[in-house]
């Protein structure tokens, strides 16, 4: 299995822990991720001009060398998917292609790493690799842009791929109402008041569901829920203490990669209690 790999900007900064876990886990599973040379930012949600935004992702789609493009980031995934659809408009495609050295032929398929694991690699095969079933309760959090506005592998209203992944590594996916609600990440800088309120609702819902941790698929969600969790606690005068774990880190723990190699010491909310529970094979909530 081989993919063109589009890491996205966060992997070089705030999501260094995600990066470490992706590298360790995918190497172990034998899935090859060949990083696209000289890749550019997808524009996230902050390039207001539509043509420029589509063109930024068109350049990425064009550089796939005939392979599917895998990305760890919900924003990158969403932008690639939306650009692919936008580029079905052939006048727009020709105009953008004029600006590109490598032209986009319209045939690249973007995949989020979750899709790569769940659909291409397969959960049965993943289950066979598990050395340490996690025996914890995890709240699957999909965020917005993994399944909306478009995706090829799960439901935008009631996605279940991450739930299934959590089961396949021996943990229990808890049911809660907010698994596709916005965490507030995109407005973290410009409207902190509102962003913290959204994060609070989500964290409280996950906490009330009895989860020992939340499983996430996006660096932006992680930043908001992990790094800003203290700010949420302070603003609303509540105690949450909810470890936010990338799904690749959970896989890594289950296939017995040392926590340090997965970047679990780089979180702002301590993962010690969770790791102790996993080590002890006991339910952390008990």
């Amino acid at each position: 299995m081989k993919y063109s790999y589009y890491p996205g900007c966060a992997q070089h900064g705030t999501a260094v822990d995600y990066r470490m876990s992706v590298e360790a886990v995918f190497a172990r599973l034998g899935i090859e991720l060949e990083e696209i040379r000289n890749w550019n930012c997808c524009g996230a949600l902050h390039v207001d001009d539509r043509t420029t935004r589509v063109a930024l992702s068109a350049r990425t789609l064009a550089s796939s060398k005939g392979l599917d493009i895998a990305t760890p980031c919900n924003l990158c995934y969403s932008n690639l998917m939306r650009a692919r659809t936008a580029l079905e408009d052939s006048p727009l495609k020709s105009r953008i292609n004029e600006a590109l050295t490598t032209k986009y032929d319209g045939n690249t398929k973007p995949k989020h790493l979750l899709e790569v694991i769940v659909k291409d690699f397969g959960l049965a095969k993943l289950g066979e690799q598990v050395k340490k079933p996690l025996k914890i309760k995890a709240a699957p959090y999909y965020g917005c842009l993994l399944t909306r506005p478009e995706n090829d592998f799960d439901s935008p209203e009631n996605p279940i791929s991450l739930d299934k992944l959590i089961s396949s590594i021996g943990a229990e996916p808890v049911r809660y109402y907010y698994k596709t609600k916005c965490c507030g990440g995109p407005i973290l800088i410009t409207n902190e008041e509102l962003a913290l309120g959204l994060a609070k609702d989500l964290l409280v819902m996950a906490k009330d569901s009895g989860a020992d941790c939340m499983a996430v698929t996006c660096p932006m969600c992680h930043l908001q829920l992990d790094a800003k969790q203290k700010a949420v606690e302070a603003k609303f005068n509540i105690k949450i203490d909810m470890p936010i774990i990338y799904f690749t880190q959970l896989i890594g723990l289950a296939i017995d990669i040392p926590p340090k190699e997965l970047g679990l010491d780089k979180h702002l909310v301590s993962t010690d209690k969770l790791l102790a529970a996993i080590e002890g094979g006991k339910n952390a909530g008990e």
Binding site: C9, D49, T190, L198
Partner: protein, 212 residues
Amino acid sequence: MKKETILPESRDTAFRDLIIRTPGGENIPTCMQCGICAGSCPVSHEMDYTPRQLVRMIQLGLKKDVLNSNTIWICTTCFSCSVRCPRGIHPTELMETLKPIAVAEGIKNKNAKFDNVFSEVIKKNGRASEFLLISKYSLSEPGMIKQAPFGLSLFSKGKLPLSIDKMENMGELDTIFKLGEKEEEKAETKKNVEGKEPIEKEKGNAEPEAEK
């Protein structure tokens, strides 16, 4: 909410037609005001007008109120409304369409400023380094100093490298950003309207940013 009579002179049909011609805008005339967009929106309670109201205002051509509303900028781009709309309208894309039009009309706010800083960083380096983004944005937003402890906590975990992430070769990025700039030239001349000040009413001859 108090009810006001909409005067014919506050309606701008050119603006309405402009929005309807943009990608995703074609279904706007079919909105039946069911409100599933507003009900699905995680932040509609903070908006001047809910997405449902905004769509109706576009049908009516209420350019000034639409472009001055905070709705466009409060939207978190979660796409809940877009996947649920029974008429195939994409309110999230509508917000994206309205942003550059509002900016061209002189609307200024934190979000527009951040988007501008972000675009400039990408244009220059090809990639977004968080530290660079936040530093540049903070220059014009002194309130950001309150975020210093947050930045420090990230830094202490090795999550905020001070080096600037750059593409090896920026050639194509210049051309890509010029694609958008060419279109901007066609767009209506900029006006000098600050924040929430009313926009001068003018029968728009603005080109939508995505018009071919």
